[in-house]
Symmetry: C2
Subunit: 197 residues, 2 copies
Amino acid sequence: MPAMPEPMNFCPNCGAPTEFRIPEGDDRRRNICTATGEIFYDNPRNVVGTIVEREGRILMCRRAIEPRRHFWTLPAGFLELGETSADGAARETLEEAGVTVREPRLFNMIDVTHIGQIHIFFIADMIGEDYAPGLESSEVTFLAEDEIDWPQLAFPTIHRTLERYFASRRTGDFGVRVESLGSQDWRAMALDREPRD
Amino acid sequence: MPAMPEPMNFCPNCGAPTEFRIPEGDDRRRNICTATGEIFYDNPRNVVGTIVEREGRILMCRRAIEPRRHFWTLPAGFLELGETSADGAARETLEEAGVTVREPRLFNMIDVTHIGQIHIFFIADMIGEDYAPGLESSEVTFLAEDEIDWPQLAFPTIHRTLERYFASRRTGDFGVRVESLGSQDWRAMALDREPRD
Ligand SMILES: [Zn+2]
Ligand SMILES: [Zn+2]
């Protein structure tokens, strides 16, 4: 996932070579078709996920796929065309954890500019009792705050979101927060490089 | 702007033809390079903008470009790679209205699934007194609630965001709202098809 637009080589419409330059009236480089002049834009992508609590514990998945295979995450994934952000978060929760949720409420939004993403988490209520790992998870469980192995979390935004959630639970303030996480924050969190068994 | 992935014809990396089909383990059609198997994903894009109030009036721009040329909008545009959503909203405000803002605070987030977009608005404070139309605006002004020509607004999300903002001003509740706007809502708002002079 790029932080800035990256050159492509060929126009996906007509197959002509593309140029990577600043179009007239613009101020950043874009891919432009040399045959038709069509401009192709690349924009940040949204990752949507949920925080699901059951008897004080949080629904978490162990990743069965790269990146960060074997590390722990909240259910989350890329928002798809045609779905709302809340629906996308619910879909990911069902796909990765086998958990059906209702009424996702926005909790936080984290700009991760150095990878061109926004991570958006919703607090959602579990329907029923079922949970099971989907194709992208090797394990699904519910963890209390003191059961979370923090350096074994998959991504800094998961770390930050969980921190904030437990803080909100103590203060009772679940108001939406917007923040950004840079590569310095990523280093400061000191997530493990290797997964534990 | 598509609501669902649309077929491309050629791989932007190697120029080979692409196929448009459901990859193994996926459940929706993607563009796939027939030479390398690389999968290309298309995701919703974020539009970011601001609500800037000065002496009770709201900063608004008349569009100098299509779509909805000559209609009225809040300053807003596509979020770019490498910037936070708040910085993007501030950048658009400077580009379209010549207004410098500080401290954008998230106000609403509107999923517009039938065009594959999320529209995100921030309330921001104006710095200084300068304002002037940028390249994409023909006019910039500040309008009170009863000066807004509602059917002449450019987009339904602008209509909804302004409605909500004035309601928030009356109740004092500026808490973040998440909602979605569908094509039915667009029709119900009955925005004019033609701009007034
Ligand atoms: Zn072309
Ligand atoms: Zn290819």
